[in-house]
């Protein structure tokens, strides 16, 4: 027994030691000249390899943004496709520098795994897909509907809570596997298909007639997805977090990859601070707008991100938006001043 106890202790300390081993991630990354980024093994719109091994997606673009900020080159990313079980271990052990893999920010993950969530790049949550011929415009009109869902997931629980809270009757048609759920929905065995909203959009692509199904606007659960870093490296955490904020601020200020060079001459002080433009104060002194210093990066950190990857709106549009097959509405992911939740503190 004692031996087992010792072994268990040793392994716990081993984990802790491994977690703190990579304290100066920035130095490591600069030394190897590339960022190791953990992504999913294939999720439409978030991270997915094409036939020529080029990765694309929202999560992938975030990795590129961090690489642009840190190394000045968005292509200096090495992608490690990870499954759900190994993703946090890979980060803890130092195999990757940042995990950008549609991971939900929860209290237990944030507090007990030795990890920190740096932001929410995509507000996901459980939604509903219905055939457009039903003419349903809101989830509140779903009273009496039969709902297809997967068994044994929180999806079922959220569903029950939502319908109970809104005093609506419903019938669950539950299956073990996602494929079965989809098949049942397509065969018309239920009126509604429910899972995370990003998943609804992705599955809709595989229908023979995507246009005949609509995703309802309501989101009934919170699944904030965001990038994760190791706890205990405040500098690296700040870099990842402020890369995300820079993407949002750029969109808010109208700075895009196309106009970022012109924007360098902008008179707007917020843009000047974001792009580290040196300006003369009225008293003749030069204002030091170099906020990159605070996170250990050069003055071009945000410029490189916007120039090479674009702002948050561009990234969203390129990977998920109306120009793609997914056609995901901005919804909760619109900026705060446009009715969404995406809000970044100012660069000041």
């Amino acid at each position: 027994m004692k031996l087992i106890k010792n072994l268990a202790l040793a392994s716990v300390f081993g984990l802790a030691a491994a977690a703190s081993a990579g304290a100066a991630t920035l130095d490591d990354v600069k030394a190897k000249g590339v960022i190791d980024c953990g992504v999913s093994q294939g999720l439409i719109g978030f991270s997915n390899p094409d036939s020529n091994n080029n990765w694309s997606g929202l999560d992938v673009d975030f990795c590129k943004a961090v690489a642009a900020a840190v190394l000045g080159d968005a292509t200096k990313v090495k992608y490690s496709p990870l499954n759900a079980k190994e993703r946090f271990t890979a980060l803890q052990s130092g195999a990757i520098d940042v995990l950008s893999r549609n991971s939900t920010w929860t209290m237990s993950r944030d507090t007990t795994l030795g990890l920190s969530f740096a932001g929410v790049t995509y507000y996901d949550g459980q939604g509903f897909l219905v055939p457009s011929k039903l003419g349903v415009k809101s989830a509140l009109e779903l009273g009496g509907a039969s709902v297809c869902t997967q068994t044994g997931t929180t999806t079922e629980l959220n569903l029950a809570d939502y319908f109970k809270a809104n005093k609506m009757e419903y019938k669950v048609v539950a299956f073990e596997k996602n494929e079965e759920v989809l098949k049942a929905y397509q065969e018309g065995r239920c009126d509604v298909f429910t899972t995370d909203q990003s998943g609804l959009y992705a599955e809709r692509l595989k229908f023979t007639n995507p246009a005949e199904h609509v995703v309802l606007p309501e989101i009934i659960s919170k699944e904030p997805l965001g990038p994760v870093v190791r706890q205990g490296d405040a500098q690296w955490f700040n870099i990842v977090r402020w890369t995300y904020f820079a993407l949002l601020n750029a969109e808010e200020l109208g700075v895009t990859s196309a106009n970022v060079d012109q924007m360098k001459t902008s008179e707007n002080p917020e843009i000047q601070r974001l792009l580290s433009v040196k300006v003369k104060n009225p008293d003749g002194t030069e204002a030091d707008n170099d906020f990159g210093k605070g996170i250990g990066l050069g003055p071009d950190w945000a410029y490189n991100v916007i120039k090479q990857v674009g702002n948050y709106g561009e990234i969203f549009e390129r990977n998920l938006g109306q120009s793609t097959d997914l056609k995901i509405a901005r919804g909760e992911n619109a900026l705060w001043n446009q009715g969404g939740l995406q809000y970044a503190p100012p660069v000041r």
């Binding site: 072994l7 392994s11 300390f13 081993g14 984990l15 030691a17 491994a18 081993a21 093994q41 294939g42 999720l43 439409i44 719109g45 997915n48 390899p49 094409d50 036939s51 020529n52 091994n53 490690s80 496709p81 990870l82 499954n83 079980k85 190994e86 271990t89 052990s93 195999a95 992705a202 692509l205 595989k206 229908f207 023979t208 007639n209 995507p210 793609t324 097959d325 997914l326």
Partner: protein
């Protein structure tokens, strides 16, 4: 008297019409009794229906040329073959850097040539060829694929994938499982108690757990027992896990062959004054292995297919890379998955059928002793 003896043969009459020709053959083989006839009709109809369904889906309703998903994603469309065309190279090489694919090709080529040299009996220099295949080739493959030496860029195993990973796993496990299996089988039958006990424990423990569990343990639990920072490569762990798993099964198969060798063979070799290893190597093993060829090949085939289980620990083998292709927004459609799985099934089948046919050929070739 002579008048009663025929001097010439009676003219040869053709066989009665009801026992020659295709009609007779059909009646004889398919409809000998009413019950068999009924069975023939039912099975025939089922077969026709299956074949028709496949032909209809894979050829008649299939889409052969399409730039992306739009043409495949229409009502009533069958297989979406352009996906396969688009993804084929990725299936073969995984995420191996495109400008480095020649290294994989070289490995494939060396392996194919030297394996052919070993498998085809007519080709001479078996000894040298075996030396190359079992000693030089693995080392060359290791450095060629991994790189980092001789100016070759380093390609870590997380970038390997597809058929490459499947073959690396299968070939390594197949090649190591035979010698390890022989040793374990001999160990289990050994009269030395410790050797016998250890072999038995190993075989029974490994055989007593599912392969998926072995892979999970290797991938997730093994690092916990290691000093911090020591975390062997994921693919390496999978290869070792599969090889050990395969050798436990192989040991039992070979032990079956050993049981079948009459005691007289052992006693006769002893009487000739052969020491243990010579007795085993020259007298017992050649006979035992010959008997269990079907069992050994059965293990090989099972092993080849079991490599697909490594997807659960996040290694992109053939199955993994095919599945990841389903999530390419460019090709996502109702038929993409079906087409991918169908093509995958054919690939696995070609490999397994090849192994099966070769084993039957070898069986016939070695069957001399038991012909009566």
């Amino acid at each position: 008297m002579t008048a009663y003896v025929r001097t010439e043969d009676a003219p040869r009459l053709p066989a009665p019409a009801n026992i020659v020709g295709w009609r007779a053959a059909i009646r004889e083989r398919l409809f000998p009794t009413p019950l068999s006839g009924l069975a023939s009709i039912i099975i025939g109809a089922l077969l026709l229906w299956v074949i028709w369904t496949i032909v209809d889906w894979a050829l008649l309703r299939a889409v052969f040329v399409a730039p992306d998903r739009t043409l495949c994603n229409v009502e009533g469309a069958g297989a979406c073959w352009p996906v396969i065309q688009d993804k084929a190279l990725q299936w073969v090489y995984g995420f191996y850097p495109i400008d480095q694919r020649w290294r994989v090709n070289l490995v494939y080529l060396m392996g194919a040539v030297s394996l052919a040299g070993l498998l085809i009996p007519r080709i001479p220099f078996k000894g040298w060829n075996a030396l190359f295949f079992f000693v030089v080739y693995p080392i060359a493959t290791f450095f060629l694929l991994l790189g980092g030496v001789f100016g070759l860029p380093y390609v870590e195993t997380s970038q390997w994938g597809g058929l490459l990973v499947t073959l690396v796993l299968a070939v390594t496990a197949i090649v190591t499982s035979v010698p390890l299996g022989i040793l374990l089988a001999l160990g289990r039958r050994s009269e030395m108690p410790i050797v016998s006990l250890l072999s038995t424990i190993f075989i029974e423990v490994v055989r007593g757990v599912p392969l998926v569990l072995v892979l999970f343990m290797a991938a997730n639990m093994f690092p916990l027992f290691m000093p911090p920072g020591v975390n062997p490569d994921k693919l390496l762990k999978a290869v070792v896990g599969m090889s050990l798993f395969a050798s436990a099964y192989m040991a039992e198969t070979i032990r079956g062959g050993l049981q079948a060798i009459p005691k007289g063979q052992y006693e006769a070799s002893r009487a000739l004054g052969l020491p243990y290893w010579k007795m085993m190597g020259l007298i017992v093993m050649p006979q035992a292995l010959k008997i269990v060829i079907p069992g050994i090949v059965n293990n090989f085939i099972g092993l080849f297919k079991d490599t697909s289980l490594v997807t659960v620990v996040g290694i992109f083998d053939l199955l993994g890379i095919v599945q990841s292709g389903f999530n390419d927004a460019k090709w996502a459609s109702a038929q993409t998955g079906n087409t991918g799985y169908f093509a995958l099934a054919m690939i696995y089948w070609v490999f397994c059928f090849g192994m099966s046919r070769y084993s039957m050929y070898i069986e016939r070739k070695l069957n001399t002793g038991h012909k009566r």
